[in-house]
């Protein structure tokens, strides 16, 4: 008859000791409230709730700074919370005169949102910080709670910086924006209410580029009947950088 191999017994002993040790340790080490509400220590909720509050939200400010809150709510900064600029306000709300929140009065802060960056959405007000009235604090011309430019920007590039800069380096550099976009003057004050037009069809570009167009001689001509078939031109040419065909430079 075969013996039960001795080495198996030798192995089982340490394994049993380890597993038993772990089971006993588990009893002592897993907190009592673990698993009551989910895969966490239920007591942690109470501990988290007893932690000091730092941010109080915009409503809290309204009790005392009613005017500013109202003003801001009607301004372009309506989506920017007070504490974004003034920091956590809890201590200030508790004792207003002792803990005064800081205010970002220098030029460093506003460009966090407003410095030019091509990936910001179309129309988002942006500036090139180094050239935009350098040396002066932003708040000397713009009210942070109701930011409007001192006068409406004359140039489309103030808000459409990316497009303006792109067009600047394209063959269309001398074609003004307004040739292709009929822009109501109100668009510069209130861009979302008064929207400029956008060319609607192939014939629009044909006004300058068709074989029989009445336009300057050096403008390259195409056969409107065959070129690009029936697609609108901007399927293939980005109108603000027309030498780019479908993304690839010629």
């Amino acid at each position: 008859m075969k013996r039960f191999p001795n080495q198996i017994i030798r192995l089982i002993i340490p394994f049993v000791i380890i597993i038993a040790g772990l089971l006993i340790a588990k009893k002592f080490l897993v907190p009592a409230s673990f698993g009551k509400l989910g895969h966490f220590r239920a007591d942690a909720l109470g501990e988290a709730m007893s932690k000091p509050i730092h941010y109080v939200g915009q409503q809290a400010c309204a009790d005392c700074h009613d005017e500013i809150v109202k003003k801001k709510a009607a301004s372009y900064h309506k989506g920017v919370a007070c504490e974004v600029c003034h920091g956590p306000g809890s201590a200030h709300v508790d004792s207003p005169t002792e803990n005064k929140p800081p205010a970002p009065r220098d030029r460093g802060f506003c460009p966090v949102c407003h410095s030019y960056n091509p990936s910001r959405p179309t129309g988002f007000p942006q500036i090139v910080t180094v050239t935009h009235n350098p040396g002066k604090a932003c708040i000397s011309c713009h009210n942070a709670h109701d930011p409007v430019p001192p006068h409406a920007p004359e140039q489309c590039g103030a808000c459409h910086g990316d497009i303006a800069r792109t067009k600047m380096a394209s063959p269309h550099v001398d074609v003004p924006c307004t040739v292709c976009h009929e822009t109501p003057t109100e668009h510069r004050m209130n861009p979302r209410m008064y929207v400029p037009t956008i060319p609607a069809n192939r014939e629009f570009c044909g006004k300058c580029h068709a074989k029989d167009a009445q336009s300057a001689k050096e403008i390259p001509r195409i056969d409107m009947g065959t070129h690009g078939e029936r697609y609108v031109c901007w399927e293939c040419h980005y109108p603000h950088l027309p030498q780019v065909y479908n993304g690839a430079a010629k």
Binding site: R3, P5, N6, Q7, R10, L11, I13, P14, F15, L22, A25, K26, L29, V30, F34, G35, H39, G87, P102, P104, G108, F109, V112, N117, P118, S119, R120
Partner: protein, 401 residues
């Protein structure tokens, strides 16, 4: 407030395009590069060892025990990068005590424990038990007691017991192969299952990880075998080395084709992330991916291996060429891990911008720590080889029953 703003501004200087605020700084650092690198070495070395045991590749016998001990030494270190990265090593027991079944990451403790306790330690124990007992019989002093304790004070070296050891080792190897696949496939799964990251999210990743693990494991054993044999002033078994090189070459080819397949797959699918990914590969990862991983770490050594394997150069030259190729391959695999881990965090999940990775020198996740962690397995291996010299054959015979 000012200093926060200044910090943000200086960080933004290194960023191109648009990225989300929490992407400026990379959260998975150098240590997380080392973690899959080391686990890969473990799995690879083990799979090499099992070639001899299960598939009876006789030429590889000289490296069998050696590969096992290499895998063991590296396995001891495998969790350390994670512990250092998480920064709370004293809490690590919690993943055993409060198992979270819905978290793949939390499964690591169990995958690791299974592989260490149920596979590697057991296999090493059965493999060395007979020798431990026989060595202890002819020794005295401390080492005798160490060997006796390691044999768990068993004394039975009858032929029947030794046969049982062999059978047990073989069964464990058979269980061990899928376990090794599981260990490293699991590491790949951790990355491959992250839907939100197109650089990682791919069902191929666990398989690519496995293939590269096998490559790195074989190369490591080749390097260590060469060095240790030379240090012992023994003759290198050239048949064994040639066979190792053949397997290494096959593994490199499989690994490379899988990577290329993954690459073509991405190109052809051309999802919305492809633009930013190709930008990243062409700029930020060009050196580490195209030059170091593909050219220096794969193509060049693969050519070297075939050329020298089938040429008639003198043995010393061939050995040198093998050795250098294996080093290059090891560097290439390290870059593979780097490109996966760091690459996956360099691009914004908005697909509109790239950030940079700045390596620290000191600090918990810095270069010094990483070098220490990479050196540790070699030190452990040195000690293990002192206690369990794989080449030592006892002069005493096995008991007859």
């Amino acid at each position: 407030m000012e200093s926060l703003n200044e910090r943000l501004m200086s960080a933004l200087q290194q960023v191109s395009g648009y990225i989300y605020p929490n992407e400026i700084e990379l959260h998975w650092s150098l240590l997380i590069v080392i973690y899959p690198f080391i686990t890969g070495l473990v799995a690879g070395a083990f799979i090499l060892a099992s070639l001899e045991k299960v598939f009876n590749v006789k030429e590889l016998t000289p490296t069998y025990r050696f590969a096992l001990l290499t895998a063991l030494s590296f396995l001891f270190v495998a969790p350390l990068p994670l512990l250092a990265h998480l920064g709370h090593p004293l809490r690590s027991y919690e993943i055993f005590f409060t198992p979270n079944l819905s978290s793949a990451m939390a499964a690591f403790g169990f995958v690791y424990a299974w592989y260490l306790m149920a596979v590697l330690l057991l296999e090493v124990w059965f493999e060395f038990r007979k020798d431990l007992i026989l060595w202890a019989r002819e020794e005295r002093g401390l080492i005798k007691w160490i060997h006796r304790a390691l044999a768990l004070f068993s004394t039975d070296v009858s032929e029947e017991a030794v046969r049982f050891d062999e059978k047990a080792a073989k069964i464990i190897t058979v269980i061990g192969i899928p376990s090794a696949f599981l260990l490293h496939g699991y590491v790949g799964f951790i990355f491959g299952s992250i839907k939100a990251n197109p650089w990682w999210s791919s069902v191929l990743i666990p398989i690519v990880f496995l293939a590269s693990a096998i490559v790195s494991g074989i190369a490591l054993v080749l390097i260590l075998y060469t060095i240790v044999t030379l240090l012992r002033s023994e003759k290198i078994d050239m048949k064994c080395l040639d066979r190792l090189v053949e397997f290494l070459f096959y593994a490199v080819i499989i690994d490379f084709s899988l990577e290329v397949l993954d690459f073509i797959h991405r190109l052809y699918q051309s999802e919305d992330s492809i633009k930013i990914l190709s930008q990243m590969v062409c700029n930020k990862l060009f050196v580490s991916l195209v030059i170091m991983q593909v050219l220096l770490g794969t193509v060049l050594p693969a050519i070297f291996l075939v050329f020298f394997r089938y040429s008639r150069f003198p043995e010393e030259l061939r050995r040198l060429a093998y050795f250098i190729s294996a080093l290059l391959i090891e560097m290439g695999i390290f870059c593979t891990r780097w490109n996966v881990v760091i690459g996956g965090q360099l691009f914004s999940k908005s697909f509109r911008g790239l950030t940079v990775f700045k390596v620290e020198i000191t600090g918990f996740e810095g270069i010094l720590m990483s070098l220490a962690l990479l050196a540790l397995p070699f030190i452990i291996l040195f000690v293990v080889l002192k206690i369990l010299p794989p080449w030592r054959i006892s002069s005493l015979p096995v008991d007859k029953n």
